[in-house]
């Protein structure tokens, strides 16, 4: 892989304060422009790993590099990361526009510049008509798009997404998946994505990492050799089905591993 590494995780492990081991010896490298997805049974540490990469949680062992440097380097131009949560996490008391502008307000970005970026981001996720609405007035899919717009205003280079569309119905989810891919190619984003859905993982990713639980570790890597831009048609091709079958089998093995560990 010739592209430079955006994230390097070397032998990272995590033990929670209560003694539970969540992650064991994770080695993971995500290169510039890649779309890497973590998939695995509930409680396998996918979200924990993502939070560690986001700097929201410290690893108990091992080390991490962001763009070849420590966490202090994150945030500089060309090295911005943004975390998209499982829930939209919008402020219920603020109108959509203020919600989307929050990261810029916190970073004291000038008013004109902030307004320009917010308008552009709202436009991009097709929510311009709703900028005066409160979050509760929007559907689940729209709230999630707002959450993505809030990530876009920071002009991130790396997106960390923790099951962002997990709570949505399948039609909305498929539509948002396609929109996300469009955004990624437009802005040459690098993405580390967490999902429960095999279909979503295959449709989006360049690489899928299958995790097993107790403690969480990576058991399999599946490369999806399908060029971008990917069309909806991809979902009904035999290749798609084969990838899904391969992942499904890997997940079954991961679950079996967990049961064996429990026995």
């Amino acid at each position: 892989m010739s592209a430079p590494a955006v994230i390097e995780v070397v032998s990272a492990g995590k033990v929670f304060a209560n003694g539970t081991r969540a992650l064991r010896r994770i080695d993971l490298t995500v290169h510039d422009g890649e779309f890497v997805t973590l998939i695995g049974p509930s409680g396998c540490g996918k979200s924990t790993l993502l939070r560690i990469v986001a700097g929201l949680s410290e690893p108990s062992e091992g080390r991490l590099r962001w763009w070849g440097e420590g966490f202090h380097a994150v945030g500089a131009a060309g090295r911005k990361l943004f975390f998209v949560f499982q829930d939209p996490t919008l402020m219920p008391w603020a109108r959509l526009r203020r919600n989307v502008r929050l990261p810029l307000d916190l970073a004291h970005v000038g008013r004109g510049e902030a307004d320009r970026r917010v308008t552009e981001a709202l436009d991009r996720v097709r929510l311009s008509a709703f900028e005066r609405h409160f979050p509760r007035q929007l559907s689940g899919g729209m709230q999630m798009r707002a959450s993505i717009a809030r990530a876009l205003v920071t002009q991130p280079d790396l997106l960390l997404m923790d099951e962002p569309f997990g709570a949505l119905d399948e039609i909305t989810r498929n539509a948002l998946d396609a929109e996300l891919l469009g955004l990624c190619s437009e802005r040459s984003l690098t993405v580390l994505f967490v999902t429960h859905s095999i279909y979503e993982a295959v449709f989006l990713s360049t690489r899928v990492l299958v995790m097993a639980a107790r403690p969480g570790h990576i058991v399999r890597e599946v490369r999806i050799h399908e060029p971008y831009p990917r069309q909806e048609r991809f979902r009904v091709t035999p290749r798609f089905t084969e990838y899904c079958a391969e992942l499904s089998e890997a997940l079954a093995q991961a679950s079996a591993l967990e049961e064996a560990a429990l026995a």
Binding site: W93, A94, L102
Partner: protein, 263 residues
């Protein structure tokens, strides 16, 4: 249409119940020939209210002044204490028991001391009433400032928000519904505190509040006036409560579940 009918019923029904009660009261007093120094008829109470209005209005004004000043004092100090508490768990753990102490000590027991210590009677009354009213503000606001959505907390942390930014943009708005819940309770308590303190102080003359009018009317067996003063206290309490409901609606009406129209 049915919604409007339900809204109308919500106003009409309690009024109807009140009217029936007054009629029943009047009938009972008249038919059993109850003497006016035991229970006066509602008509007599209304008549007394009109005749003694100059005296009663002045007392009402005194009591209201004490109540409102005490409420403002309680809200100001209570909020300040709550802000202090959320700065660190140590501060909260060290001082919270003393806030509880204020809450559980009967004001009747402390009022004589406060009245001895503080020269100016009105100030003493305000102090007593605010001691009664302060606890709900402290406990609710502290709870509110702590009750922030963990996702939003992560979002602020990830955007490297300062302590002040998190306080102003996240903690304070999150605390508003709790604060207003406390304010409703405190407004009633401030009035009760003012009346109890007046009873203990027994201030007469131009500075006489409604409690003193009740005390005096009781001694003079002027029961209609006692009832009239009692009625004024009740009405003042209800109006105060409604004012707090209005304030709460003004602040939360557009976004908080508690103030939104039921579906």
């Amino acid at each position: 249409m049915t919604e409007r009918a339900a809204d109308g019923a919500r106003i009409v029904m309690p009024i109807l119940v009140g009217a029936l009660f007054l009629v029943a009261w009047h009938m009972l007093v008249v038919s059993f020939d109850v003497p006016r120094y035991i229970v006066p008829s509602p008509l007599l109470v209304a008549q007394t209210l009109v005749e003694d209005w100059p005296l009663l209005a002045q007392s009402l004004w005194v009591t209201l002044k004490v109540t409102l000043s005490a409420l403002v004092l309680a809200v100001t100090c209570g909020t300040a204490v709550a802000f202090l508490f959320v700065q660190s768990r140590w501060i909260e753990h060290s001082f919270f028991p003393y806030a509880v102490l204020l809450q559980v000590t009967p004001i009747v027991a402390i009022a004589p001391l406060v009245i001895i210590w503080v020269k100016d009677t009105e100030t003493a009354l305000i102090l007593c009433a605010s001691i009664v009213a302060i606890f709900p503000v402290i406990s609710n606001t502290t709870l509110g400032l702590r009750s922030i959505d963990p996702g939003l907390a992560d979002l602020f942390r990830m955007n490297r928000a300062t302590r002040l930014q998190t306080l102003v943009r996240l903690r304070v708005p999150s605390a508003l519904p709790y604060f207003f819940g406390g304010l409703r309770i405190s407004s009633g308590l401030a009035l009760i505190g003012a009346v109890v303190a007046e009873f203990v102080a027994g201030t007469g003359g131009s500075g006489a509040g409604l409690a003193y009018q009740i005390l005096l009317a009781g001694l003079q067996v002027d029961i209609p006036r006692l009832f009239a003063a009692l009625l004024l206290i009740t009405v003042a309490g209800v109006l105060l409560f409604l004012a707090m409901v209005f304030l709460s609606k003004l602040a939360l009406g557009r976004w908080h579940e508690s103030e939104l129209a039921k579906p």
